[in-house]
């Protein structure tokens, strides 16, 4: 399994190199237009005309950092007592791709997310972002480095209004949290930014409602809105459409698709709905009992014996060896 993973990684690295042909090379990344975008982002992070996701931090476009895959996990492992929830998972994620992470319940998908975003600390192994080891960093540090996360169980600020939830994210990005003496409402640009994102997720008409009073579907949308407002490099969605009504699912999917169109962003998506994965994913990795058991193009992986058997509950070890 380990050796297999290694070859997979190199194959991925090759495809990444293909992608990085001259037209998309580092020279293009530091072109003036991009520089201007960064400067504009620094001047004001918002304004009604801003694209759906705010410009990434200019430092993220550092050509040196670009040589690495944006995110890598090396032998990432966590043990809870005797139980190994994530088992030596090595994987690299390239810029501008959407990777779906699938696996049966209890396979360790959310735990793997928790290790990457920092809610859990690894027992063994490393998490590397842009070539920098972030394994020992705290959650807020990782967030400021560019890892953003939407949660499976809705995880919002329940007594605050919808607008305030998103405004808080914009405020964190503007690094204004320790400002004690200005009025929060005088930072109009943060409110505009929040309302812009809310319009994107179709929640602007509910901006003044308290979050705890929102229906479940709207809370899910707000969860995504917080992630969009954060504008991270790596966006992690943990079952974004879970528990949503049929007519609300497309709103979220369209948002993810739009985010995906921005080639600076990398999306990790835990999802069970195969049709969703087929439309969105560039690549699928399969976790089973905490271990990475399959990795590749959606069509191949979905039809592979490993996935079929993992979902149907047959013994996977035979499949991997077979």
């Amino acid at each position: 399994m380990g050796a297999e993973g290694g070859t997979r990684r190199s194959r991925l690295a090759l495809t990444a190199l293909d992608r990085r042909n001259p037209s998309l090379s580092a020279a293009a990344d530091i072109s003036p237009s991009r520089g201007e975008r960064g400067a504009a982002a620094r001047r004001s992070c918002c304004g009604p005309g801003t694209p759906i996701s705010p410009s990434p931090n200019p430092a993220w476009n550092d050509p040196v950092a670009r040589e690495h895959p944006i995110l890598e996990t090396h032998e990432l492992t966590i043990r809870f007592g005797g139980h190994v929830a994530v088992d030596h998972v090595s994987c690299a994620f390239e810029r501008g791709t959407l990777t779906a992470i699938v696996g049966p319940n209890g396979a360790g998908k959310t735990t793997y997310f928790n290790l990457i975003s920092g809610q859990l600390r690894a027992s063994h192994g490393k998490v590397v972002l842009n070539g920098q080891d972030i394994t020992r960093m705290s959650v807020p540090e990782r967030t400021l480095k560019g890892i953003g996360r939407a949660f499976q169980l809705t995880n919002l600020f329940p007594t605050l209004t919808v607008r305030e939830n998103v405004r808080l994210v914009a405020q964190a990005r503007a690094n204004l949290g320790l400002d004690l003496f200005s009025m929060a409402d005088s930072h109009v640009e943060l409110i505009e930014r929040a309302e812009h994102v809310l319009a994107e997720v179709r929640l602007l008409d509910k901006a003044d409602q308290t979050v705890s009073a929102l229906p479940h579907g709207d809370q899910r949308k707000l969860e995504v809105a917080l992630l969009i407002a954060l504008g991270p490099q790596v966006l992690m969605f943990d079952e974004p459409t879970a528990g949503m009504s049929v007519d609300e699912v497309p709103v979220i999917l369209r948002l993810i698709q739009e985010l995906k169109a921005d080639k600076d962003r990398t999306i990790l998506l835990v999802e069970h709905k195969m049709d969703v994965i087929r439309t969105l994913a560039d690549r699928i990795i399969v976790l089973h009992n905490g271990a990475l058991v399959a990795d590749g193009e959606p069509a191949t992986v979905i039809n592979s014996a490993v996935v079929q058997e993992a979902y149907l509950g047959k013994r996977v070890t035979e499949a991997t060896h077979g």
Binding site: S138, T143, A184
Partner: protein, 353 residues
């Protein structure tokens, strides 16, 4: 201009606006409106407690931190000032220096408590603060050569703040402006500034983060706020404000002792005032402090009147005898918590919406 002073935090209820205006006018003109020493004493206590309760609300109502060490910080400010005045003589410089020392010590202690213990669960933090506050109270009563022990410290305050000092030869609006009145206005002015500062802090970007931390500290971390840093900052700010309230108390009473600053009873009073007024609203601190202190001061005399009025009726006079004032205070609290679970301000604001 007014909105700026209130940091955009409107009372958002006509009744509340009227109540706050009445309180503001009452306190601003207390020496003229209510002559005599007892009303002035009460007004000064109200001013001091508004700051103390508001600073506690910053912790419990806005950040969701339960601390029992608030009276310790209050006491540090008071003892600092008291020591300054008793060791350095009755000058403003000595009072200022002592106050500065007390406030600085409160800040350092709050920082240490915050950094060491805000990572643990809320209940453990509450226990830690309870232990530290009790230890501090014991320490103060044991170090009697410095603090006067249980007897506390009596000291002289600058002459300009004593009744012997007359600002004008002639009375103004029928009131002789003596040092006591000046002293009251010093307290009123400082308390007003401190309260408006707290109001600004809770409506600042920082204050908004505190609310987010209270609501969901896990998510606050995940959007990039270092929660321990914010909790510690809130603890330090609230300790500094409490210590400043302590400075005012020391100047007003010309006495500082464990019973007036450090006792657990005061801690419970503060908690009750926050709950009665409404947690998470600065205006709640105002209403809570006013109602509680008025009840504490005047319920007994009111009940004395009631006893006389009901003298002919059997049983009733016994029930309303002034000795039973604590019972009725208790009943008042139970009723207010029952009918206003979100506090008076919470109730008034909800009623408007």
């Amino acid at each position: 201009m007014l909105m700026k002073l209130l940091s955009g935090d409107r009372p958002a209820s006509p009744v509340l606006t009227v109540l706050l205006l009445v309180i503001l006018i009452g306190l601003a003109f207390a020496p003229f409106l209510f002559p005599g020493s007892k009303p002035l004493e009460t007004a000064a206590r109200i001013c001091i407690f508004i700051v103390l309760v508001a600073s506690y609300d910053l912790l419990i109502g806005y950040t969701g931190i339960v601390s029992f060490a608030h009276t310790m910080f209050f006491g540090l400010g008071a003892y600092g000032t008291a020591l300054g005045l008793s060791l350095g003589g009755a000058s403003f410089a000595a009072a200022g220096l002592g106050a500065l020392g007390g406030v600085a010590l409160a800040a350092v202690l709050a920082l240490a408590i915050g950094l060491f213990s805000l990572r643990v669960k809320a209940i453990f933090f509450a226990m830690v603060t309870l232990a530290i506050a009790s230890a501090f109270a014991v320490l103060v009563s044991q170090l009697s050569f410095l603090t006067g022990g249980e007897d506390g410290l009596n000291y002289k305050i600058p002459r300009e703040l004593t009744p012997a000092f007359k600002l004008f030869a002639e009375p103004v609006l029928g009131l002789r402006i003596d040092g006591k009145v000046l002293s009251y206005y010093l307290i009123f002015g400082v308390a007003l500034v401190l309260f408006l500062t707290l109001l600004r802090i809770v409506n600042s970007p920082f204050g908004r983060v505190l609310k987010a931390v209270r609501d969901n500290s896990f998510r606050a971390e995940a959007i990039g706020y270092k929660v321990v840093r914010y909790r510690t900052a809130a603890t330090v700010l609230s300790a500094v404000m409490a210590a400043m309230a302590g400075v005012l108390l020391a100047l007003w009473l010309r006495y500082t002792g464990p019973a007036t600053t450090l006792s657990m009873e005061i801690m419970v009073d503060i908690l009750l005032m926050v709950v009665i007024g409404g947690m998470g609203t600065m205006y709640g601190a105002v209403l809570g402090a006013v109602i509680f202190i008025l009840a504490q001061t005047y319920l007994q005399s009111l009940m004395g009147l009631a006893e006389q009025a009901t003298a002919g009726i059997p049983l009733l006079p016994d029930l309303v005898a002034p000795d039973r004032w604590l019972l009725w205070l208790g009943v008042l609290f139970v009723l207010s918590v029952y009918f206003f679970p979100t506090g008076i301000v919470g109730r008034l604001r909800a009623g408007k919406a």
